[in-house]
């Protein structure tokens, strides 16, 4: 089904690079020093609570919001520099930005007209997103799920190598969410870059390869999904430098966690305790972390938010 309306991606490398993006709205810093790379061929989940700065970040990437500092590049170019941008990047930013008095099909047609895309493709995408029956009805009468589908169809018009979807699961029924998961996986498998934002990890958990976690405008975690959910041991010591050396000597991998703690990649707290004991290091905290992604996500966000108060 995907193959009927989706050709091989064109426009070369769809790598997204954001470098130090910062945006302030008055006294509020919406996004601060946001730096990340989003890779083609993978589905990347852009996660964070509502108001964390996801939409502002995406809008900066798309040239709709001017960053106060930093820059964003798609395949090495700023969005404004793209020739026929819809053929490189497809974006579904929110489900409500349609004229209520215009039909879904006509909405797609005016967007398509800017790039010389014909009505046949419009109709194919309406069929793909299950909107054929509603195509000639005014969008004002659409459900939120139908608006989401229309936004997705709009994002796909130019057959883009990069797809950005802001909260695409909002308003979709469970069946629609399941379909969307499979669809996004298929697009990534074709080598496209797929970036999907959500405030609920469980919505995207089954379909993402990588995650970016944003809280209070800052990137707090990025990497493969397993970065978030790998079972680990949370440890704090009076002498962190010595603990790091001891862990490295014992061949235990770790990452710097929040609040001056280390997150050690192991299932066994006893193992970490033994290493510390052997090195004569007093511990302040030692606890296993369960492999519950949603919990880990919420904890991570809560910690980041506390750290900024």
């Amino acid at each position: 089904m995907v193959g009927e309306v989706i050709d091989e991606p064109v426009g070369g490398d769809g790598t997204i690079v954001m470098d130090g993006l910062t945006k302030r709205f008055g006294a509020v810093t919406a996004v601060q020093d946001f730096t990340c790379t989003v890779h083609p061929g993978r589905v990347t989940g852009f996660l964070g609570p509502n108001g964390a700065g996801k939409t502002t970040t995406l809008r900066m990437l798309l040239g709709l919001v001017q960053p106060d500092s930093g820059r964003a590049r798609i395949g090495g170019r700023a969005y404004e520099e793209l020739n026929e941008p819809l053929r490189v990047v497809g974006a579904g930013l929110d489900g409500s930005s349609f004229h209520p008095g215009r039909s879904g099909r006509d909405h797609l047609r005016w967007v398509a007209a800017t790039h010389g895309i014909d009505d046949a493709r419009v109709d194919a995408l309406l069929a793909l997103t299950g909107l054929t029956d509603a195509a000639y009805r005014r969008v004002g009468g659409y459900s939120s799920g139908m608006r989401q589908r229309l936004a997705l169809a709009g994002a796909l018009l130019g057959d883009p190598a990069v797809l950005l979807l802001d909260e695409p699961a909002n308003g979709l029924d469970p069946e629609g969410i399941a379909w969307l998961r499979g669809f996004l996986r298929a697009l990534a498998a074709e080598g496209r870059t797929v970036l999907v934002s959500s405030h609920v990890l469980s919505e995207v958990q089954q379909s993402v390869d990588d995650i970016l976690v944003i809280a209070r405008g800052r990137l707090v975690l990025s990497g493969p999904l397993s970065t978030l959910g790998e079972p680990g041991v949370d440890v704090a010591a009076t002498d962190l430098t010595a603990l790091r050396s001891a862990l490295t000597a014992a061949n235990l991998a770790y990452t710097d966690g929040p609040n001056g703690r280390l997150l050690v990649t192991t299932r066994d707290p006893g193992e970490v305790g033994a290493v510390a004991h052997a090195a004569g290091l007093p511990l302040l905290h030692l606890a296993p972390i369960a492999n519950d992604l949603e919990q880990a996500f919420l904890r991570l966000v809560a910690t980041a938010e506390q750290a900024r108060r």
């Binding site: 809008r59 798309l62 709709l64 404004e80 215009r102 005016w110 967007v111 800017t114 790039h115």
Partner: protein
């Protein structure tokens, strides 16, 4: 650019706005033209001087000119809506994703408003004659359509009306808020220009009076206004300049504005 113009034309054609305004135009033309043709040359008493009668060319031009004024008011509103509609309905995001250059979008919208304005102008002028004819004939006067001045007024009124569409788009882009921009435009036409003309005249700047938007607009069709008017082509240039100038300011102010 032609794709962008096609897209903006499609935007205009695919909501009910264009024919709603067209119906409004026909109604307003009738409301304006009937009394104008009916009372041309009439003494109202209370010392009000009579307007030129229908037997004079200026009287015929004034009667038909009432339709022109209805036409440009509606096309001004149409232009404002074309200029501001994307912000009102959130379609600005999709518009600027497809065409990141805000200047190009503004130009396309002005072209579309001018094209639509030509159509509305044609309808307005045809409707004007259709509505005025029975009234004029009933008063026993001639239609004067064969007169060069009257015919010129009616024909030049069409591009004259279209130019107001360009001004409307520029206002919509500058002021952004659709309802506020419509109010500003309409209040200016009915009150602002009169105050400006009077003010210029009072301060001894009589030479500038002909350059206000309303007077430049009236110059295109000629007729009775009580002011010395520009040549028709100069009136067109002045109106176009207003549109482009307001659009330029709107572009300068808004080209880096965040679309949220």
């Amino acid at each position: 650019m032609s794709r962008l113009i096609r897209s903006e034309l499609l935007k205009l054609r695919t909501t009910r706005l264009w024919w709603g305004l067209l119906l409004g135009l026909l109604g307003l033309v009738a409301l304006n033209v009937v009394p104008s043709a009916l009372f041309a040359g009439q003494e109202f008493g209370a010392g009000v001087p009579a307007s030129p009668g229908l037997q004079e060319i200026a009287g015929a031009q004034a009667a038909y000119g009432a339709g022109y004024q209805a036409g440009y008011l509606l096309v001004l509103v149409l232009g404002v809506i074309i200029g501001a509609v994307d912000r009102r309905h959130g379609t600005a995001t999709q518009t600027f994703l497809a065409t990141p250059s805000r200047g190009r979008v503004a130009i396309a919208k002005m072209v579309v408003a001018a094209l639509a304005g030509l159509l509305y102008g044609l309808v307005a002028q045809v409707a004007t004659v259709a509505v005025a004819a029975p009234v004029i004939l009933a008063r026993g006067a001639e239609l004067r359509l064969g007169n060069a001045d009257v015919a010129r007024s009616l024909v030049l009124g069409i591009p004259g009306i279209a130019l107001w569409g360009v001004i409307g788009v520029a206002l919509g882009i500058l002021l952004r808020h659709q309802i506020a921009a419509i109010l500003v435009a309409v209040v200016y036409i009915f009150v602002g220009d009169v105050l400006l003309s009077g003010g210029l005249s009072l301060t001894g700047l009589d030479g500038a009076v002909a350059y206000t938007p309303n007077n430049a607009s009236n110059a295109i069709v000629g007729g009775f206004t009580g002011f010395d008017l520009l040549e028709w082509w100069a009136g067109m240039l002045v109106l176009l300049s207003y549109g482009l100038l307001i659009a330029l300011v709107g572009w300068l102010v808004g080209r880096n504005r965040d679309i949220v």
